[in-house]
Amino acid sequence: MPPSHSIELENLAGRSESILMKPGSAVLNSLASILLQLSYTRLRLQSINCIAMADTTNHGWKAYEYYPSMAAAVIFVLLFVVVTLLHTYHLIRTRTWFFIPLVLGGWCMHPSPTLLPCLYIHTYILTCQSNSLDI
């Protein structure tokens, strides 16, 4: 791995540890850990891109276009879970049974399929990296 990349990784790790240690709610901690994972993914994707270009074949992954869509997918799933839970509560409490299809539709929207390919590609990249990066 080129030395600049490893330095970036260490800096990120140090910064995120200080975020995690701040007194605060568990929500903040989990958000920070999610962000940490995302930044690791981004760095790994960038390193893959570097090596791929040395190979003169770009495997088609664009790291910077990928990073925001995963964060958006996570937020989107959270939003939908909250709203659907609210709807389910109201459905049962007020017994407005004709709204059952809407609640079912709400549950269909989670988890988002933007998340699944993110996760699968993350795993693929990680396994790919472990082979291609022992230079």
Partner: protein, 218 residues
């Protein structure tokens, strides 16, 4: 480990999940269609609606079920059969949905105008907030229409390449509109309509964050 060695990782759940995402608004539509009939009954405007109230819900829900089945089977065909046939069936289902939603929006708007010009006793009554619920129906219908048009654009174009970034963008756009639809219905929950019709006792208040008991004066 090469790419060939990756097992049948997530294609099954991925396809199933993206199909669910495709057909979820058809489920929203079913509930929305049912609400219009109830609002019409609430203001006793049966004579003023475009279609007879008995038939209204049945026609719209039948059209919605048809569009749901077409979209779901189209997605299945896309996986198991030829891609172009599947895409065609999905496009047909989306067009059916757009047609019925347009028809629904038309009925709702015409009903609102007719009640505005020839109000019934219940519609001028101050404690029946039918306008609010009708506006919720209009807003969510427009949102679902826009979303269906997006989906038509997505399926009619060339999606044969693995354009991960643009696909994610379209999904998020679609999902955001559907999120707004759900938020609209949490804030303007039809339990109020239900209670005022005498079919329930609890209604949602405070923007969806609480539940109140309602005693309807008969």
């Amino acid at each position: 480990m090469s790419a060939k060695q990756s097992p049948d990782w997530t294609i099954g759940p991925y396809v199933m999940q993206s199909t669910l995402l495709l057909v979820a608004p058809a489920l929203f539509a079913a509930s929305i269609y049912m609400e219009l009939g109830r609002i019409v009954c609430l203001v006793k405007g049966q004579a003023l609606s475009l279609i007879r109230v008995n038939w209204m819900t049945k026609i719209f829900v039948a059209g919605d079920v048809l569009s749901f089945l077409m979209q779901a089977s189209g997605a299945g065909i896309m996986v198991k059969g030829s891609q172009s046939t599947g895409k065609g069936v999905i496009l047909g289902g989306l067009f059916v949905q757009i047609f019925f939603f347009g028809f629904f929006l038309l009925s709702a708007v015409i009903f609102q105008r007719r009640i505005g010009s020839r109000p019934t006793a219940q519609s001028v009554d101050a404690y029946i907030p039918w306008r609010k619920h009708l506006f919720a129906l209009h807003a969510s219908s427009v949102l679902i229409l826009v979303r269906s048009v997006f989906r038509v654009a997505e399926y009619a174009g060339d999606t044969d390449g693995v354009l991960m970034s643009s696909e994610a963008f379209i999904y998020i756009f679609d999902g955001l509109l559907m999120f707004f639809v759900m938020v609209i219905f949490v804030v303007v929950h039809p339990s109020e309509v239900n209670c005022l019709l005498g079919k329930g006792t609890y209604m949602t208040v405070r923007g969806g964050l609480g539940v109140n008991e309602m005693n309807v004066p008969v």
